[in-house]
Each structure stands twice: as C-alpha cells, then as structure tokens.
Symmetry: C2
Subunit: 253 residues, 2 copies
C-alpha cells in the first residue's frame, strides 16, 4: 500500500528549500538518516509526510509510512549532493513566548547569521543538557535546511524563544530570571574560567560573527582567555567553551 | 605603476580553485581582508601575487604591490559570493617532517574530512597558542579554499605534520614525545575534565566526523562528558573543548 508522491507534494518539497516557501507553509525539511531518526525520537507527530527512495533500507523507521519514489527522483528532491534516501516534511515548531525558565542558565544569540554556526550551536546546547535557547530577530532561521543539517535536527527538541531585539530579551530575562547578565567580549571582561556564579541563573549573550553585539549599559563583559596570537574564535566555538565550562563545574561539584 | 593581470595569472587563479590546480603549482588562494591581513602579519614573503579590485581601499596593505582589476573582473575571480576585493596567490608551506615537538601537548586529526571543520579547528588551535598540528593522510587539504577561509589563514602560521596513517603518527610520537596517548571517544574513557596529566607531553587523537578512528591497541580512551540526550558533537567542537580545558588548567595554576 505504498503511496505515490503527488505533484503537489513534490512542489511543496521544492518550495521548502526556500525561506519564502517555509514561511508560507509553516513546514520545513529534514533530510538524512541521523536527522530523521532524531525527529522520530522527539515526536512522531511532527512528521507531515515521509519520503524515501525505493532502494532505502533501514530497520529504524518501521513505524513510519513512507511515500516511495525512484532513486533518481529522490536525488532530484534532495539538497544533499549524495542523498541518503530519506526525508521528512516536518511541522515547524512554534517559538516559545512565555513561561518560566527551564534551565539553570540561558544562552542568548544576537543576530548570529551563519546557518552552519547556528546549527552547530543548537546541537551543542542540546548535548550539554539545556532545554532552551534564546535568540533575537536577525538571527538566521533555526529551521532552515542548513541549520537542521548542522544540528542533526536537535532544534526540534529545544524550546526556542525569539525576541525583537537585544533590549527586549534582556528586559524579559530581568523579569523572569535575574540581573546576572553577561556579554561575551573577545578582548576584555571577567574570565569564563574563574567568574564565580557564572551559571547561577544567568543569561550569557553571544553576538554576530562579524559585528559582535551593540553596547548595552550595565551588563558585565565575559571573556574567554586566548593565549594565542589571534583576534577571536568562531562564535560556535565560543558558545561551546562556555557550555562545557558549565558541564565541567557541575561534574566537579 | 599598476600592473595588469596577465591571462596566465588569471588562469592560475582559476586553477587554484581546484585541488588538482593547487597540487600542480604548490600555490594556494587566500581571499578576503582578514585572511590577507593574517598572511601579511605572518610572512610577507608568502605572497606570490596580490590582486585587488580597483575600488578596494585599505590602509593595512600599503606594503603590498597590487595588480588591480575592475570590480566585475574581481568578482569573477573570487569564490566569495560577495567578494571583499582582495586576494593573494600564496606559496603553499611545506609540511614539517621532523624535529622536536614545539608544544606541551599535541593534537592529531585522523581523516577529518570537512574543510570547514578543519579550518575551524586550525583557527582554534592557533587561538589557544599551539604552534603545531598533526594529521593523517585522508584528512582534507588544510590549504584548500574553504579551510583557509574558515581558519582565516591561520594554517600559514602553524607547523603541520602529515603522516601516512594513524599507526605511523603514533609510532613517531612515541619516539619523539611520550607514551601518553589518548583517543577521544564519545561514549567511554577518562573524563577530559578530571584526567590528571592530560596535557603533560601527550598526544590527543580525534577521528573522522562519521566513522571515528580505527581501534588501536594500548591507547587510552578520553571522553567529553555530555549530559544531554545526544550521540556526539561535531569534531571541531570536541577539539575546542579539549583545547580550552588546557587553557583553563594553565590559567588556574
């Protein structure tokens, strides 16, 4: 009882490669074995349509009803240069708008623009056990194809809060969280390795790859010591250092 | 006394976009302001030819003799979708083949295949103050365009040693370094946050993105604790966690 991919479904898949198409439909594309497995483990109900190549074989997806297409057709639908023969059309989760904080500290990304960076950050946030991520408008879409691929679909397991701008996010954090707010700065500030209480109901802000963040009054600078002769590291690496410093402190307690 | 870009130079630039072209000439391409500035700060002698767009303006490159081309021509030579108007044809540094170790510990990449990952790792290695990086054949070319872009040309400041395979690298490290050798493993091993002597004349091995490393006898597993519900993190993130754990320990001494 294999179904046939309709023209409409095919057009939908192609449209979901574009930002405009995703916006119009509130759906997104999830490709590849690892990402699709992740969707399955998070919530089967997210899947709108599952498509696989006729030669796709895996025991991990027995609970899924697939629309099967020829290998050539599948490759033409895929954004992977060598497709893995599986893709899901997935409901786009809504951004969280209110409610109490779910973690002991919170990461806020301000206008991070590279989808690969954002996806990597999301995957690392999930790996370290946080349930929530904050971002401002101007940050790249966390449900675009490249971000989903880099995160291996971890974004579907996180609560993401989106704010109009940095000031709004800070204001909200002061209301529901605390006054302990840091902005990362490559050149000055307290060291992330020695700052006491760094992860104690705090908000830690990371800026855009090229331009950093705007100057905000009354917020503490936080820095990652860098002994090497270099101006800065990639924002995804900075977030990783901070996230794993939190893991380390927890482990050593 | 501006020079004109010859047909031969133009063909060379185009050929350097390909692996084959780089291999044939022992040259590579460095694009963009930050990367070109880095080359300048490392060694002016690396530059074979400097090309800029006629509308390019910067005070940082007054020591460089440019070949100027029209903005349209420059964009057609550039691999950036929005070029920054500056590129260098650069001599490809030779791999280091022998000599004493330059750092207190050493990172070995075994067949890391993504040029963005490799570039990010190289930039982070440099940021933490190491002078050397080891890799095995099968690792992507550290002087390909994407790796240079991701590293912002940091690879020109590092000594890179390349080995035919993992066994050869380990053998050489035992000869000139020590027996303290670790392989990172996402699931088991000593914690990188508590292992004593982790950075004491050690070699720390990171495997391929998808397949990890082959099993090697008598080498200790090292793991990065991950409280979240996820299988593994990106190899560039793993290297970053380890590198900054070394910085942290040094700072706290």
């Amino acid at each position: 009882m294999d179904e046939i991919l309709t023209k409409k479904q095919e057009a939908l898949i192609r449209s979901l490669q574009t930002r405009h198409g995703r916006k119009k439909s509130d759906l997104c594309l999830c490709e590849g074995i690892k990402s699709c497995k992740e969707i399955l483990s998070i919530n089967l109900q997210l899947i709108e349509t599952a498509v696989c190549s006729e030669d796709f074989k895996s025991d991990d997806f027995s609970s899924v009803d697939f629309v099967k297409v020829t290998a050539d057709k599948f490759q033409s639908l895929s954004s992977f240069s060598a497709s893995e023969g599986i893709l899901f059309i997935v409901k786009r989760p809504e951004f969280k708008v209110s409610g109490p904080l779910s973690d002991s500290f919170t990461i806020l990304l301000d206008k991070v623009s590279d989808p690969g960076n954002l996806g990597t950050i999301i995957r690392t946030v999930r790996a370290t056990g946080l349930g929530e991520l904050w971002m401002t408008e101007g940050t790249v879409d966390p449900f675009c194809n490249k971000a989903i691929r880099a995160a291996l679909a971890s974004q579907f397991a996180l609560q993401i809060r989106l704010f109009a701008n940095l000031a709004d996010a800070i204001c909200e954090f002061r209301r529901i969280g605390s006054d302990r707010i840091y902005i990362t700065n490559p050149h000055s500030g307290a060291s992330c390795f020695t700052e006491a209480g760094l992860f104690d109901k705090s908000l830690i802000i990371f800026g855009n790859e090229a331009h950093g963040t705007e100057n905000i009054h009354n917020i503490a600078d936080l820095t990652i010591p860098m002994p090497g002769n270099i101006d800065s590291i990639n924002v995804a690496q900075s977030v990783t250092v901070i996230l794993f410093e939190a893991v380390r402190r927890k482990e050593s307690n």
